[in-house]
């Protein structure tokens, strides 16, 4: 593997993205809105008394952290890699002396930095206005870091293997739309997983989507702890490994089928 070339590619991509930062700020603004809506709705609902054992300030803290985590783990390769295969731009990437995974990583890192420049100041201002309540000790923070890294890995490889379906089907974006709806419902956006009614909660705990966004937030806000947290980590690691394996299999099988003209 050519890591030095990969690093150069990452730097190049980041610099070219910074040129178009107002465009990416707009994208980040759009992605912030849905969790922000639920922040307001739940904190209004908990205005006079706790809802499901969570107070107004705790809802604010939960959603502000969720906005950051969602932005950090958001997988844009979902959309871009599929297009590259469909339109035959994958040709150029295959000619580079390194794995095409580096292209995805490069835009991933470039994107994260550009989005954070926008999202962090906005979140800080919101935190000053909305007075969140966060009681996170060193234990919670220590558990949060691996949960966040795993969440990013899981979402990245999950999005990547879904995108690789484009090797077989021209309109694989339909499946991506289904998975976005599931992320919206089950990843802790519409409500913390603890507040979901019975069947939905069981689904959320079993399926991978909660472990892409909601789980790290639950860990740092103390909504999940003890044995429930350990079970959570086990499921999260399980899904991450599964996603990486799926990526490898799909990539090797798919590449054999891939044909394109020109490039």
């Amino acid at each position: 593997m050519n890591h030095r070339g990969g690093w150069a590619l990452i730097q190049r991509t980041w610099l070219s993205w910074m040129q178009y930062r107002s465009f990416f700020f707009l994208l980040a603004f759009g992605w912030m809105i849905p969790p922000l809506i639920y922040l307001f709705v739940w904190s209004t609902a908990a205005g006079s008394q706790d809802v499901g054992g969570i107070s107004r300030g705790e809802f604010v803290a939960y959603y502000l952290i969720l906005i950051l985590v969602n932005q950090l783990t958001y997988s844009q390769t979902n959309w871009t890699v599929g297009d590259e295969i469909c339109y035959g731009r994958m040709n150029q990437m295959l000619l580079y002396p390194m794995s095409p995974l580096y292209h995805a990583l490069a835009s991933e890192i470039a994107g994260k930095v550009v989005y954070m420049i926008f999202v962090v100041p906005v979140t800080v201002v919101l935190a000053l206005v909305l007075r969140p309540e966060l009681h996170a000790g060193p234990g919670e923070v220590l558990a949060f870091i691996p949960a966040l890294v795993l969440a990013w890995l899981l979402r990245f490889f999950w999005g990547y293997w879904l995108a690789l379906l484009a090797f077989w089907a021209a309109r694989s974006d339909a499946l991506v739309a289904v998975q976005d709806a599931l992320v919206f419902l089950l990843a802790g956006q519409i409500a913390p997983v603890a507040l979901l009614p019975g069947a939905l909660q069981d689904l959320a705990i079993a399926l991978p989507f909660r472990y892409m966004v909601g789980f790290p937030v639950e860990v740092i806000t103390g909504q999940v702890s003890g044995s429930a947290m350990i079970t959570g980590f086990v499921i999260q690691i399980g899904w991450t490994v599964a996603a990486m394996l799926l990526y490898r299999v799909m990539w090797q099988r798919g590449l054999r089928r891939y044909t394109a003209i020109g490039g």
Binding site: L26, I190, L200
Partner: protein
Amino acid sequence: MRYYLNLIRQFIQASFQQELAYRSNFLIGLLHSLLSLGTGVLSLAVLFEQVESIQGWEFAATLAVLGVFMTVGALQNLFISPSLESLAGIGGDVLSGQLDFTLLRPVNKQFLVSFRRWQPFALIDLALGLGVLVVAITRMGSSVTSTGLITFVVLLASGMVVLYAILLAFTAMVFWSPGFLFTWVFSGVFQMARYPLGLYPGWLRLVLTWIIPVGLITTVPVQALTGDLEPAMLGGSLALAAGLLIAASWLFRVGLQRYASASS
């Protein structure tokens, strides 16, 4: 008038013929619509599983707000957004200079850029939105009066005018700052209209009523149904709709004068 209606019919026909060439897109469109219906209703169900009512808003009335949001959004995607996006969006006519050909035509320019493109798949969303609305109104039951219903329809229409005027005004700004996607900013803020304004904190409620008045589009009509609407608010929102339409049309005319075509 007859002439303009005839033109609209021609635009619809041309757009539908274009879209029908890609039939598998219909299934994908249907899937997207059903997903957004499912997520919208489920998220409300989860919320009202935990609380009876928030600031006086109960499940049925909140569902009605969602129904209005979906209906209005569907109408927006039926023709307003596709038409205006083809003017000011990415690769739009203002940037490419294609607007030259629009300006040469002997028809009102604002009419032409507002009705030119239609997107038939939005009809699915329209049907689903109206369905949600009917279910919500049935669930609200006896509290809905016939005057409430008539006021609701009037306010729904004026909400549509408000939405059109805002979109036109944001679109017109492309003449001052080409390349900046003003309508994207608005569509982010418009997302907030899927919940009643009462669920937001006070300062945000004021912003969403008077500065970027998305609340007038969805919350105020439903207040007419629940009987919570003050007469002053009815007059105020109708006046604001008329004012916004005039101001947006003026802004579009002034902006159009700045248009200097592309380099060719």
